[in-house]
Symmetry: C2
Subunit: 563 residues, 2 copies
């Protein structure tokens, strides 16, 4: 078919961005081509705030026809954590029709080569970027994130992670040259001479199993890594967060078709309530790669059962912050208060266990007892969230009833240092908005261990009294080893303690933030620079993004012949 | 401890070689620092033929004490396929003592960094290279390879594959810088500034499960990839091929100690007859990486059961050569005859199924019927192996009774185009030396399929009559998809057929050699240039060597703090 977008055009448009991304993953300095500020949108084809909102409103209550083959029904039923029924329906696929259709265009996609695939992916990301305002509403009304967070984390930050994956995928594929001349001397006889051709080939169809809380941010790395390495990608969104990924699939299909490729290289697999198609899809022989973010139990199931596929999982963990000592008590408290509050603690990177010596800590404001530290932290959270408007803007809404139930049960686990309170949302009266709870536990008591050694996903954290800094370090080691962690934080002015914490993190492969007191938080990572997870502890078997995340999504086939 | 070998010295000695290896894996042009000719050894500290033989003889009948902790017994019992009892005993380990001892030195090995680890590995390879003549005898008398093959494949070629793995491991680890300054603009406010440190960390202890036929060639990639990425490596050799890997462990321990590292970073796990310790070791929590070459059943078992580890397997496959047409009939026949004969077909890369149209093929010597092709090939093998001295030098010995039994049973599977014959070995009268058998099968007959669709490891190949080139291509596709293949060969002068074969190899991820008629054979691959296996079909889940082979043997831990 005649392409509206030629490869030449796409390379001219996107190669400079790709090159900058390649440079960024080498230096890991700050870089992003995707503006974080809502007002940066509205020119050069991007939707401004009003147009984005209008686009979102226009899709509500409609059938989102993606033009996919094998559609046998229309399904939907998302209800926003803010109380709005989205009313959008999506294609439900007969997978025996859809999967073969997805394979049909793979040969041409493979033959296009790594650079063309990369720039097609960058064009998809550009279309998504242009619709950032629209996506922000879609992410907000599926994840429950407050608008600004949905805008940034669901928009530019997610797009950054997608672009980062494309850059890693590209560089990995071009490590091996397309051709080589191989001449082996044979003493006095003629040398042996071979011509060799090397082609990166896809594994097959990749399956992306999306999550409820960060459908785009957690979805884009796998989606773009698989697509850029030549695989078709089937997107199975979380039933409560279909729209952001459906719009993504829409943009991808649009660009693929315009660039002369088969749009079925990217398709959506929405499901009926309680259909549970992830298990069926994950074990289909056509599915050779799976990316998953969600519960440990299903992640473990995938790793054990989807044996025909490469499986990349991000599961649960127990994130720890050691509070040993600080030279900036106020900065520490406000930094921690923000980390605990952002998106009501519904991030896989939110700290859960704050390990604090029961004898208290040294600070620039003198010695602070365990109770003083917890009380001061509670006050910091209160101060941060005292204003309802600001509280709503930071907390967002509770994403589902399970989180609410866990929050309500948490108060019974120990002495409450900070009680959760309801916050009214004037714009969305049905939204469930809650401030975080902080519960004090005694680390020496066996019955407390059941609480702090399990992930309690949501706005719940435990101030755990430990005997000493050394005890904190040992508990950190055991927690990461047994439960995994996406993040570790530590506050200490003691070089010995700092060294011990680092040693644990190196031994147990956990990502460490030290003494953050300013505007960077332990639960945030930046694409091109920070790794999200390590892939080396039970919380996740892969990191975003590194060579290992992309290198096994394709294989290299060599064809050699005598020259 | 004071190191006899300083890092500085090792870098000066080996960095140029490392750089050349890095360049070779980028260009994939011919390169090797390890001479193939036996006469190249004897200077600069390397053993010449006589000294190598003497060193081998000196170890026979001795206890090879590696100085390992936790040795609770001495075990051995290797009998050479050439009939010689080696009489060497090796340490048997109490793994509850050995494994913790192997972990003790990991912190220092990790902290040494990627470059130091690489040059230490290169020093180990240098010591092994110096002992190539000694290793040649050890490989010969465990694998049954003829001396020259044991010398080359077990010596320089194996060392090349080890070095290649070190190069890949090094480059993978230095993709991320040691440190980064990250400065994020904040409009009119001060920028956010972080200092980030990145450290490659090992997964834990790696387990190498060695094979009988190529203990060093198949063992070195995993061993050196794991060691170079910071892991300790436990080497569990095949009970019939302990010596080459025991000598390897000896060399590694020597160099590690001299360089100031804990020698227990590399250790041997020899076993009692029928002890079957591989299963026990493979599922120990300390074991986080496994490299395995051997049967499909145990490879599948490892993949299914060693869930705590990254598992790299090379298993069985069914290698196919399509014989469609040729412009060099004589060259094709002699090339194929050599491929079928080398090491009595006991290579994972030896062709098994020769797919030949039942109506014959076009050649530069006119049309040849199916029967003519098979008869001419039989004659070529006969001519190649007619002289007993040359036959012994090419065939080596049958490695074990199972191979002999399969060979003897093969003649009953169909019409014999070339019968196997016994060859006497004047030097080793007890050696079992056999020429290959070629059996004709009708690809259209369902009862023939059971034979040609299973791996028949050893000097057995099937001339399978197919209806057409298209039929051959389809059978190739089915064979690779269902049974896997380490190699595919094809002879054709028809562009359409060539394209179709290539398409199958790209679709099913198989490595293809086209129209080889000279001194390169389908069953041989060269390090730094050819991939061994693809990792994308059932014969192996990894390729030697690529980014995917090394990228997940370590993780990167980030420590970030405000600048």
């Amino acid at each position: 078919m005649a392409a509206e977008l030629t490869t030449h055009e796409l390379i001219a448009r996107h190669r400079p961005t790709l090159d900058q991304a390649l440079e960024a993953i080498r230096t890991r300095a700050y870089w992003s081509p995707h503006p974080e500020h809502p007002k940066a949108y509205g020119e050069n084809g991007s939707l401004d705030a009003g147009a984005g909102k209008a686009a979102f409103d226009a899709v509500l209550g409609t059938r989102l026809d993606l033009g996919q083959p094998g559609t046998d029904d229309w399904v939907g039923g998302e209800v926003s954590p803010y109380g709005v029924e989205l009313g959008v329906t999506y294609p439900h696929a007969d997978i025996d029709v859809l999967l073969p259709a997805m394979k049909a265009g793979q040969g041409a996609w493979r033959d296009a080569g790594a650079e063309t695939r990369a720039v097609v992916c960058l064009e998809i990301l550009k279309r998504i970027s242009d619709r950032t305002h629209e996506f922000a509403h879609a992410v907000m009304h599926t994840s429950g994130q407050a608008f600004m967070m949905a805008f940034q984390a669901g928009g530019p930050h997610a797009q950054d992670r997608g672009l980062e994956a494309v850059a890693y995928a590209y560089v990995e594929q071009v490590r091996t040259p397309d051709t080589a001349e191989w001449t082996k001397p044979q003493g006095k006889r003629d040398p042996l001479v071979l011509t060799k051709h090397f082609t990166p080939v896809p594994r097959g169809i990749a399956l992306l199993i999306g999550c409820n809380t960060f459908p785009t941010w957690n979805g884009y790395p796998g989606l773009f890594a698989s697509l850029a390495t030549g695989n078709a990608v089937l997107v199975k969104p979380h039933p409560r967060a279909v729209l952001p990924l459906a719009l993504t699939v829409q943009a991808a299909r649009e660009v693929l078709a315009e660039a002369g490729f088969d749009p079925n290289l990217v398709a959506l697999a929405a499901e009926r309530p309680d259909e549970g198609i992830a298990k069926t899809l994950a074990t289909r022989p056509e599915i050779r790669i799976i990316d998953y973010t969600g519960s440990t139990s299903f992640g473990d199931w995938l790793e054990a059962n989807a044996r025909q596929a490469q499986v990349y999982t991000e599961k649960a963990g127990v994130n720890t912050v050691i509070v040993d000592s600080t030279a900036d008590y106020k900065g520490m408290l406000s930094n921690l208060a923000f980390s605990l509050s952002l998106y009501s603690g519904q991030m896989c990177t939110t700290p859960q266990n704050l390990l604090i010596p029961r004898d208290g800590i040294a600070t620039d404001q003198g010695h602070k007892s365990f109770d003083e530290v917890t009380a001061d932290l509670a006050r910091s959270v209160d101060a941060l969230l005292g204003d309802d408007a600001r509280a709503n803007a930071l907390l967002g809404a509770i994403v589902n009833p399970d989180v609410k139930a866990r929050l309500e049960a948490a108060a019974a686990l120990g002495e409450v240092a900070l009680a959760s309170r309801e916050v009214a949302n004037p714009d969305f009266p049905d939204a469930v908005v809650r401030t975080p709870v902080i519960v004090k536990l005694d680390g020496a008591k066996p019955d407390a261990e059941a609480a702090y050694m399990s992930e309690c996903f949501g706005p719940v954290s435990f101030a755990v009294a430990v005997d000493s800094a050394a005890g904190a370090v040992e508990l950190l080691r055991r927690t990461v080893r047994e439960k995994g962690a996406m993040t570790v934080g530590a506050y200490t002015t003691d070089e010995e303690v700092e060294r011990a914490v680092q040693e644990v993190c190196l031994d147990e492969a956990a990502q460490l933030s030290l003494n953050l007191t300013g505007g960077v938080y332990v639960n945030q990572t930046a694409a091109f620079s920070d790794f999200h997870g390590s892939g080396g502890n039970p919380a996740a078997n892969a990191a975003l993004c590194d060579g290992a995340f992309v290198a096994n999504r394709f294989r290299v086939v060599e064809v050699r012949r005598e020259a």
